[in-house]
């Protein structure tokens, strides 16, 4: 893989609403496949040898995989927000974010507070530290989501997308309509799409990390049958369960 992706240890994450702070650097040309994970990442992109020209990127609620073209010296610093926390950090509803996300001037216009993050930094380490400090400030400035929202977000993840929308709603004493509307605001996704992404991510981990056969993974992940899982892999990953691509499996926590 052309890019080295690292996540900071948990002890260095300034707030419980952040799932991971990561950095990545490519030392040669290549492509890097990004899988949909239902999350929103705030990213600073810069050239590793000269962290002066920094571009802010906000990944969008896409359910499609895409390939990132990497060049030597491209580097990234990013924060991935836990489901339900992104609007609070960013200061915008994810329902308004286009699937392809926002970057550069368009992003700064939408979120002026990001301007300070794109000021020149003296080093990549300084950039990362400054990024963490800003996020800590944003965390302190906004109240955490209500307990009910956290319980709902947890339920999606704990059940790995296997609970029906009606169940999720009823169990948390909200209507399906309310849940759908809130979930779109919080994540940019319809609950059903979000569940399918979670289900795919789980099946992928069952195969690549737990060593389950595709048949066993399809069963445990809750697919109606193996062909359903294969279709999901092609849709969300662009590969077959029998030959999964060597993609980076990011940390996912609710």
């Amino acid at each position: 893989m052309p890019a080295r992706y690292c996540e900071l240890p948990d002890s260095m994450i300034p707030d419980a609403g952040i799932e991971a702070i990561w950095h990545s650097r490519s030392d040669r040309a290549g492509t890097y496949r990004v899988l949909p994970d239902g999350r929103c990442d705030l990213i600073l992109r810069y050239a590793f040898d000269a962290p002066f020209k920094i571009e802010a990127v906000l990944s969008g609620p896409t359910s499609q995989f895409y390939d990132l073209d990497l060049l030597p010296g491209m580097a990234f610093v990013g924060a991935r927000f836990k489901p339900g926390h992104a609007p609070r950090f960013l200061g915008m509803s994810l329902a308004q974010l286009p699937p392809e996300g926002l970057r550069g001037p368009a992003l700064i216009q939408a979120l002026p507070w990001l301007q300070a993050l794109t000021a020149p930094a003296t080093s990549p380490e300084r950039l990362l530290t400054r990024f963490g400090a800003h996020l800590a400030e944003r965390a302190q400035a906004t109240p955490p989501p209500p307990q009910k929202i956290l319980a709902i977000a947890a339920a999606f993840h704990v059940s790995a997308g296997r609970m029906a929308l009606e169940d999720l709603a009823r169990v948390h004493r909200v209507s399906s309509r309310q849940l759908t509307r809130n979930w779109r605001h919080l994540t940019g996704f319809a609950p059903k799409t979000y569940c399918m992404i979670l289900q795919f991510q789980r099946a992928l981990r069952l195969i690549t990390k737990s060593g389950l056969s595709p048949a066993a993974a399809a069963y445990e992940a809750g697919y109606a049958d193996q062909p359903h899982m294969t279709r999901a892999f092609h849709r969300f990953g662009g590969f077959s369960p029998a030959r999964p691509m060597p993609v980076t499996l990011v940390t996912m926590r609710s």
Binding site: A154, V158, R170, K209, E220
Partner: protein, 129 residues
């Protein structure tokens, strides 16, 4: 093998621990500072609570325990010297009534509640042998 643990996956370990101490009169044995795992003093077999989001990390998926959902298909049963008293104490401390104490044909007094997360807890007398 020997039976070591019953571990219930819950949304809030700290709150569940406190709930079991007050509602069922149990003592804490261990609480991990991360807030993700705790144990009650229950003798050789440990009753423990784990943060439900650990499931994802471990690679399994669960139906989350929620009071408004159908209960999970398992119960925890406590033997009590006074089921009527302990049933009332449970209800006064956040448990929900399911079935008040009743004498069973086999000589046991049995009651059921649901804990704060919706798990079924039985409070019953010793079976008279």
């Amino acid at each position: 093998m020997r039976f070591g643990y019953t571990i219930i996956y819950v949304p809030d370990v700290r709150a569940t621990l406190a709930h079991y101490q007050r509602a069922f009169g149990l003592a804490e044995r261990f609480f991990h500072e991360s807030g993700t795992y705790a144990e009650l003093e229950t003798g050789a077999t440990v009753l423990a609570f784990a943060a439900e989001d650990l499931a994802e990390l471990h690679g399994f998926a669960l139906r989350p325990n929620r009071p408004a959902d159908l209960a999970a298909g398992v119960e925890i049963a406590f033997i009590s010297a006074d089921p009527d008293h302990d049933y009332a104490r449970a209800l006064s401390n956040g448990a929900t009534a399911l079935s008040p104490p009743k004498d069973m044909p086999w000589g046991q007094r049995v009651s059921y509640v649901r804990d704060m997360n919706g798990c079924i807890v039985e409070i019953c007398s010793e079976i008279k042998g």
